[in-house]
């Protein structure tokens, strides 16, 4: 690939074509569209624009299945981020994105630049970023590389997010050997904008100048977009020079300068330079407007000497934006960026002719019809096939499982396990208070931030159980949406919309495509039933190493609205004497549980099934009860099952030791299934006895089973005659679980 950096005159041979990740068929199509042979620079442009990452060529057909409409949706997928109306003339702008492969190569910088990238997607639309989430998947906790990766990634997310002054208010972290050689780092940001001042990436108006702002261009990440679209192999670590380094300080200046400029009328269109840098931002802006763009590379601010047009066009240097402005505003743009000590340079102009034309000191180096790069990009209907071994995976002989001697011991083992232990070690490294809106910091079912100047609040969560998706991608996709909505409902928020990051293996494999289409179908059904539109998202394929795929991981980040931010619920018990109530049904589903994995070393069975009607009823019941001020606490049952959920109610208070509880549940089946089965649609609430009747009324109306299962009491947790443990002991085990491994 070394000759890719030599001048455009270098010959385009079949090897060069393949090295760019293009198939013979795709190359033939390029020849047809151009009516001539592309030069090397043009080939590079095609390769990034037609990469999976930019073109969504394998996923487009399936993504159309997702419901994207709703009364509050202002901009759905297709823009840099989704936009939703929250009333009072305000809108929220949010999106999630992956930075998986870069984070494996250089965890700190990979994660940091992932945060930087998603921030730009959000403020490019005119929104002030006010909250971030991150969703992380690492390999087995005992894998020798895991602590290094965890420390690097968490450090990078904090290092970048803290420095730009955007609070990181939540996220999730899981460990599983399927990610040993392919970790996942998905970053989410939410911004707040005025409803009528949303900016989009459109290069309108022939003659309008195209302005480059932000950091100078170096050779960083040349070919990042194609890397994100290729499988990993051992030699990936040799792609070293392409690592991007983040500069959060410059990003902070860029945010302030752009938001300041957005208060003027200078901007016609604006877009961040993300994957495939200058090329994709210019081409996408022209594509959306049906126009063309002409660039003069000699004007582009460069950090390194001797950069070729190829490198300038494909560089993924961070902290850069591309603007189209009104001609008379150029001086104003310059003045504002100078005030923030940033470069702002006119590098081209909008043209009527719909082509992407690039000059280098007046000499043409690329000339490609915009549509050839956008609309004409390949779209595949890749074959999908349920793998025969799926039946085998789903088989679980529960009767053959040895019965644990002590359920208390099992509970302790689970609370101290990497996937169920407290995440505090992670989120303590993130500033979750900056901007002064954080009502509920990490540690609850969802984060809550207030919206200044209104009585409203926003709730945020990110969820996905990839083990469920592996066992049954349809049920798993459904569960991811259901759980996210449930987490929002637990704090009292009504789901508004979601953004998803679909992390999958190699789409050229039939079983992966099957997983993909199944997961989307499951998500779709849950979105429809729970009335949550998908407003933005991201697809990350090729998460495999040497032919082994990760578990399908369709991460769902969901945003909810609270009309009154003072009316929220938190997971932990508040007062002795409160009754403990279970909304929902125990169904003894052990398949895919953390208990099976941790205690019996098995990943098997059918994952718990989601009954969407019940799910909807449970969530509404919880929300109404929070709204009416009936509840002292609310917490959903998820990984680890009922026993872990009850334990969390006792121990999850951020500063205090917590209360115990005495629980008596009627039950006839297996004790382990009762305690540790992960049936969906269950919420544990606590409340004053006098509120019980009112809660029962709501539950009856919503057709939701409800049972009083015990009382908040003392300083130990007791469940039937199965579990008996001091709260302090459980808390110690739980709160030190992660740091024991990763420190």
């Amino acid at each position: 690939m070394s000759d890719a950096t030599s001048p455009a005159a270098a010959p385009v041979t079949p090897e060069v074509v393949h090295a760019h990740g293009l198939t013979d068929h795709e190359y033939a199509e390029i020849l047809r569209l151009l009516g001539r042979t592309p030069n090397l620079t043009e080939l590079g442009v095609f390769s990034v624009m037609w990469s999976e990452h930019c073109s969504y060529k394998s996923s487009r057909k399936h993504l159309k299945q997702l419901p994207t409409e709703g009364p509050r949706v202002l901009h759905g997928p297709g823009e840099n981020a989704g936009v939703m109306d929250i009333g009072d003339g305000l809108a929220v702008v949010f999106k999630i994105e992956s930075h998986n492969h870069p984070s494996f190569i250089e965890p700190y910088q990979g994660a940091a630049t992932g945060v930087g990238g998603i921030l730009r997607d959000v403020f490019t639309m005119g929104a002030r970023p006010i909250a971030s989430l991150n969703s992380l998947r690492f390999g087995a906790i005992l894998h020798p590389k895991t602590p290094y990766l965890v420390n690097g990634v968490v450090g990078g997310i904090g290092g970048y997010g803290n420095c730009v002054g955007v609070p990181t208010v939540g996220g999730d972290v899981y460990f599983d050997e399927c990610y040993d050689a392919n970790i996942l780092v998905n970053a989410f940001t939410l911004g707040l904008a005025e409803r009528d001042r949303i900016f989009t990436g459109k290069a309108r108006g022939a003659g309008n100048p195209v302005v480059y702002v932000g950091s100078k261009t170096g050779r960083d990440g040349v070919h990042g977009a194609t890397m994100a679209s290729e499988s990993f192999s051992e030699d990936a670590e040799q792609r070293r020079p392409t690592v991007q380094v983040g500069d959060p300080f410059t990003e902070k200046l860029l945010i302030e300068a752009c938001l300041e400029l957005m208060r003027t009328d200078a901007i016609v269109g604006i877009q961040d330079m993300g994957a495939a840098g200058l090329t994709s931002s210019a081409v996408e802006m022209a594509g959306r407007a049906g126009s063309g763009v002409e660039l003069e590379l000699a004007q582009v601010p460069l950090r390194e000497r001797g950069m070729t047009p190829y490198e300038i066009l494909l560089s993924e240097s961070q902290e850069r934006m591309l603007l189209v402005v009104h001609p008379e505003s150029v001086a104003e743009v310059r003045a504002i960026f100078e005030r923030w000590d940033l470069d702002a340079v006119v590098v081209g102009r909008v043209i009527d002719e719909p082509v992407f034309r690039v000059l280098s000191e007046g000499r043409p180096v690329a000339d490609i019809p915009v549509a050839a790069l956008t609309d004409a990009a390949p779209a595949y209907d890749r074959p999908a096939q349920r793998p025969p071994r799926q039946d085998e995976i789903q088989r679980l002989d529960a009767d053959a499982l040895p019965r644990p001697e002590s359920m208390t011991r099992v509970l302790e083992q689970l609370l101290g396990s990497p996937n169920l232990g407290s995440r505090e070690w992670v989120y303590r490294q993130y500033d979750h208070y900056v901007r002064g809106n954080t009502v509920l910091a990490p540690g609850a079912d969802a984060a809550v931030i207030r919206v200044k100047g209104t009585s409203r609040g926003l709730a945020l969560t990110v969820d996905c159980n990839a083990r469920y998706c592996y066992l049954d991608p349809h049920a798993g996709g459904m569960a991811a949406v259901a759980e996210a909505a449930r987490n929002l409902s637990c704090v009292g928020a009504t789901p508004l919309g979601l953004t998803d990051c679909l992390n999958f293996g190699n789409p050229e494999r039939e079983d992966v495509m099957w997983q993909f289409s199944q997961a989307i179908e499951g998500m779709r059904e849950a979105c429809l039933a729970l009335e949550v539109p998908v407003v933005s998202g991201n697809v990350s394929f090729y998460n495999e190493t040497d032919g082994v795929s990760i578990h399908p991981t369709p991460t769902v980040a969901m945003v909810g609205l609270l009309e009154d931010v003072t009316r929220i619920a938190t997971p932990w018990f508040k007062e002795e004497g409160d009754l403990v109530v279970l909304l929902g049904l125990n169904r003894d589903e052990l398949g895919g549980s953390e208990y099976l994995k941790v205690v019996h070393g098995q990943v098997a069975g059918k994952p718990p099934a989601v009954d969407l009607v019940l799910e909807r009823g449970i969530q509404r019941t919880c929300r109404l009860a929070v709204e009416q001020g009936l509840l002292s606490s609310a917490h959903d049952v998820s990984e680890g099952g009922l026993a872990v959920a009850l334990a969390e109610c006792c121990i999850a208070h951020p500063d205090r030791a917590g209360f115990g509880a005495v629980i008596e549940i009627e039950h006839r089946g297996r004790a382990d299934a009762l305690l540790f089965g992960e049936s969906h649609s269950r919420i544990v609430v606590s409340l004053k006895e006098r509120h019980c009747g009112l809660l029962q009324d709501i539950a009856t109306q919503e057709n939701v089973p409800m049972a009083v299962i015990g009382e908040v009491d003392g300083d130990r947790l007791a469940i039937n005659d199965l579990v008996r443990a001091p709260v302090q002991r459980l808390r110690n085990i739980w709160s030190t679980a992660l740091e024991r491994y990763v420190k």
Partner: protein
């Protein structure tokens, strides 16, 4: 044996720290400053007798821990 290790960013890798120091030095009036790069400097004592042994260990320590080969270069000196 005293080992001094110098860890610097690879050429071409963005050095925001260096850039910031350069800007500050300029605004403090040091106009002649060009290209500042900021790296790490480590001193460690090695309880071994032979310089050759120290060199070998230093080499391996740099490779394994002290420098991040993805973005950094290193250099070391061993002295009595």
């Amino acid at each position: 044996m005293l080992v001094k290790v110098f860890v610097t960013l690879k050429e071409g890798v963005l050095d925001p720290q260096g850039k910031a120091v350069e800007n500050s030095l300029h605004s403090l009036g040091f106009g002649a400053v060009r290209e500042v790069r900021v790296g790490k400097y480590l001193e460690l004592n090695l309880d071994v007798a032979e310089a050759g042994d120290a060199e070998q260990q230093a080499q391996r320590m740099c490779e394994k821990l002290l420098a991040n080969p993805v973005i950094e270069d290193y250099r070391f000196e061993v002295s009595g």
